[in-house]
């Protein structure tokens, strides 16, 4: 299984029936494909709607786009609103979970995912509000950079997206809960705790119930 699929499958298990969920662009958009049967979630899109769905082969509509500007579909019972309402939902705790990518996460639950100074400055978009307001903040990312460096650090070195807002980190190697530092809850398929240690710059505790991901 590819890293991305492992991550998407594992995050899908965190989403409870009835959740309102906002998924960041990229990897997180794969998650709905892996929801267990019986689990129904409503997707919120920060450009202003509830009920985001797949295109499912329908003809794209120019004004029906996701937060990445790409054509999407909508499920029955969806609703559209302006950006002030969209972020009232996000900031006000009406979104049960958000799943975002990360450049760096640290053991304090700090996240950096919106800029690399002097190099890549896309902007924070809705990310800072999502991590501030969503009830569960899950960071879904590959464990290491393409160069093989750990993205899970003692302390983020890039400009922060938020301070102490991350609840959970899911990579292809590990699931960490943030609870006064990092707690290793699960390891990925074929991965040992020792493997995780080698690839993780931050220290972490090991949960007494630490186990293999059940995906």
């Amino acid at each position: 299984m590819q890293a991305k699929e492992i991550i998407a499958r594992r995050v899908a298990l965190e989403l409870k029936d009835g959740y309102v969920v906002n998924l960041g662009i990229g990897l997180p958009t794969l998650i709905p494909n892996y929801l267990p049967s019986g689990i129904n979630i409503t997707l919120q899109s920060e450009n202003g709607f509830l009920g985001l769905g797949p295109l499912n082969g329908q003809e794209p509509l120019p004004n029906l786009v996701n937060a990445g500007g790409q054509p999407c579909g909508m499920v029955p019972g969806g609703s559209f609103f302006d950006s002030a309402m969209s972020f009232a939902l996000i900031r006000g705790g009406h979104v049960d979970a958000t799943v975002l990518g990360g450049l760096q996460v640290d053991r304090c639950g700090n996240l950096a995912n919106w800029m690399i100074p002097g190099k890549m400055v896309p902007g924070m978009g809705g990310a800072m509000d999502l991590v501030t307001g969503a009830r569960h903040v899950i960071i879904a990312m590959e464990h290491c950079t393409k160069e093989g460096n750990s993205k899970i650090l003692k302390q983020c070195s890039l400009p922060l997206t938020c301070r102490s807002k991350v609840h959970m980190i899911v990579t292809e190697m590990a699931v960490f809960r943030v609870d006064n530092g990092l707690v290793l809850e699960e390891v990925g398929p074929g991965v040992s705790v020792e493997d995780v240690r080698k690839c993780t710059e931050s220290d972490f505790r090991i949960s007494t119930s630490c186990r293999q991901m059940a995906i």
Binding site: G18, P76, G92, G133
Partner: protein
Amino acid sequence: MSIPQKVVSFKEAEQLFRDGMTIMFGGFMGAGTPAGLVRALLANGANNLTMIGNDTAFPESGVGPLIVNKRVRKLIVSHIGTNPETGRQMLANEIEVQLVPQGTLIEQIRCGGAGLGGVLTPTGVGTIVEEGKTKLTFDGVEYLVERPLRADIAIIKAKKADRIGNLVYERAARNFNPLIALAADLVIAEVDELVETGEIDPDVVITPGALVDKIVLAGRN
């Protein structure tokens, strides 16, 4: 797949109220106040309520009957002038009334629902409204910092709901309803009409179903 069963009877809704709760209500002089839920609150017997909304309407409309029946300990409203019983209880110290400018009150509710810590408003500067409040001055203009309001339960009146709780309102009965839907732990909507999910055009929904926990049908039991 599970569709939450949001549609309940008034009897079931009645069980949700408790003594001492803070309840936000929609309506302006009674228009847009859920009369059936007000009756349910009366029937339930809940006491010592804190009520937050625009006004106490008239003795027989809006939340007026709750005042007349002395169920309310504290009111946060902008206007009580049309319900003489509210004024009488206030002057007799039987009820605590916090009068708030209407535009400030709705912003405080919006803040409570939108995760904001407050707004800066010029309204009330130089009046008794500013007493005890943080004041900030920017570019020579004074503002009051007005803090968020939230409630345990919001009771809403809408024209129509679908089964997942998307709401539309009629005419001037909208008023506070869409804002209180954001600012309470539990949101109950009383509606005149219930339709199947997907029957309301997504562009005209005012309150998204995700905000609505329970739906009761006006005129039913």
